[in-house]
């Protein structure tokens, strides 16, 4: 907990190193000496301004200092109490594969459209205060970092700090500093993440790779042959050319410029940019190889994307093996769960 020139942070017995405690809370509460204590925003109305900036600073600092947080589950929670379990267990093989920022997404996703951040914090939809103030701000700041680059975002934060320390900034003051330092109009971004409650979700809707339909003379082993009408799936009929169609959709209301990566079976990669404004866009490529997969936002710039799984699409699903893998493990848990019921017989 933060206080003027003082903060407190709790720790527990048996905390394993790498599990994030007490380092995370220590960094966070120390961070409040900057965001809220020196840069003194109104926490009652704009809690996101200190909690959000501080959450972003905490996660980034932790990641630089300690690397990725390991998954920890605490056992032996005294029943009927609000206490957390006494015995922590750190488990390997369980992590955020894409980006450590996804931890914040898991807190924010269900509150994505509940309220705009611009309304006073005390008026947020019930139980969404921390999701919108802490997680959403951290996610859009991290998205801004990816979009503008760390050097620019760092300059935005330090300028905001220098300019507003020992003063009482409002949200618009932060946005003004951001635009001034980045030297570009960012209203389109803040309008969506701050003044509205837009959900961001881009998806690869469909991928098709078929032999190109041709009409004309085709070279076949040195001899020209007339081919007409739609070709079948064999590219030889089309002179060795496949027509690939990738349809990308903007599923959410939020608009953000994204790249679309198409990877072909021969290893060739094609990257296209899309302003992401219209509801969908079809990308068409004619190449000597079939498409292997397509990804929208392949560099994971848009950390506010609430559904990362639909960002990629293979021509043929490979879901069966992982589904069986995790299902058989879950089934083992279920069998043990049932056997535990047997205790009461």
């Amino acid at each position: 907990m933060e206080y003027p020139t003082l903060f407190t942070a709790g720790t527990r017995l048996f905390n394993p190193f790498g599990g994030g405690s007490p380092e995370g809370v220590t960094i966070h509460e120390a961070g409040h000496q900057f965001w809220y204590a020196l840069v003194g925003n109104n926490e009652f109305e704009y809690a996101w301004l200190d909690e959000g900036l501080n959450t972003f600073s905490t996660s980034r600092t932790y990641n630089v200092a300690y690397g990725e947080e390991q998954y920890v589950k605490r056992y032996f929670k005294p029943p009927g109490t609000d206490m957390r379990g006494f015995f922590p267990l750190m488990l390997d093989g369980i992590r955020y594969s894409g980006s450590f920022w996804q931890e914040r997404m898991n807190g924010y996703r269900l509150a994505a459209t509940s309220d705009s951040q611009a309304i006073p914090t005390y008026m947020y939809f019930p139980s969404t205060g921390s999701k919108l103030s802490y997680s959403k701000t951290a996610l859009w700041l991290a998205t801004l970092e990816n979009y503008l680059g760390w050097d620019t975002l760092q300059a935005i934060l330090s300028t905001f700090f220098e300019r507003w320390k020992f003063r009482h900034p409002k949200p618009e003051d932060f946005f003004a500093v951001a635009e001034e330092v980045a030297d570009q109009d960012l209203d389109w971004f803040f309008d969506q993440v701050y003044r509205a409650a837009e959900e961001f979700d881009y998806a690869i809707e469909s991928v098709k790779s078929k032999s190109a339909a041709v009409e004309g003379m085709v070279d076949r082993e040195g001899e020209l042959e007339y081919v007409a009408g739609p070709a079948d799936d064999d590219a030889d009929d089309a002179g060795g050319v496949y027509r690939t169609e990738v349809v990308v959709r903007r599923v959410g209301g939020g608009i953000f410029p994204v790249d679309v990566l198409m990877v072909f079976e021969d290893g060739e990669e094609v990257r296209e940019s899309w302003d992401g404004r219209y509801r969908w866009r079809k990308f068409v490529e004619e190449r000597p190889s079939k498409l292997s997969y397509a990804v929208v936002d392949p560099d994971f710039i848009l950390l506010l994307d609430t559904n990362r799984t639909n960002n990629s699409r293979l021509r043929e699903s490979q879901a069966t093996l992982p589904a069986v893998k995790w299902t058989t493990r879950w089934m083992l848990w279920l069998q043990d769960f049932l056997a535990t019921f047997g205790f009461f017989v």
Binding site: P78, N311, L332, G342
Partner: protein, 323 residues
Amino acid sequence: MTILRVLMRGLNFSVSWPKMLVWLWLVTIVIALPAAVMMGESIRTQIGPSLAYQDLLIELDLGWLGEFRDQASKFEKSLTATAVSRAMFLDNVEAWFSGRLFEVDRALVALGVAYILIWSLMLAGVLDHFARGPDRFQLGLFLSGGAEYWFRFLRLVVISGVLYYGVYRLARWLFPWIEEATRDVTVERTVLFWNLLGALGILFLLGLVNMIFDYAKIATVRERRRSMLLASFRGLVFVVTHPLRTFGVYYALALVALLLPLIYLWFGPGTGQSTWTSVLLVFVLGQVYLVARLILRLTFYGSQLALYDLFGRRRTLEFRGTG
């Protein structure tokens, strides 16, 4: 020495009829499989044709899991990070201890209740088999023996259920009381100590009820009792009159029961299976664990039966010909 002897006798009971073990194991498979098929389809749909499969073959991606859980039904939400990890059994131990076993999704609780009903039948068959000691396992004899005592055992489930409920209610009162009493204590070790002490008390009571009703079931089969209230009283009397032996046998086996999930936790497989063979191997390994757990449960009954035969038996069940 007596304790060791009855433990060995109990172990002998539990492994003497491997076919019986297979049937008991199959029951868990048959009940769990439809739910697993549903869960598998949900997981497969969620992964879809995406590249998420790559990460999921290496490790459990918490980002993917978060997406899955945020749009999942309560039943699907039982797919948690620890439920598919090496710590999966600890989750159930914790749920059992805290009484939250009955607070999960209704469909899962329904499966658990169904298992209680079927397990009552099976257990009656098991004890009848132990009591008769036939040369080889016969499913017909096993089921007819089970059917004979099934409803009596279900009545015992109801009686013991009232007591278990009482213990869990006590826990729901005790731990908040400890929390309140230690709220100003600044040393966590002290708080842990009092909570551990409380846990030991609750575990003792859970074990005591369990043990009394184990002997009640044994007395029911051994003495062909029809009144389950009197059988429960008989179980209580036996435990009270032979406390060292009954507790000795129970806690020796309870220690093994505690070690089993810890062994799986330490030596169980990680999450990196990326081939059909390795996935199958992990599944088989898990099933071996479950069979070991079944053997242990039967050893509880076998040992307690042996102890009861030594010190508590009043009438001998006459061997009924198998015809």
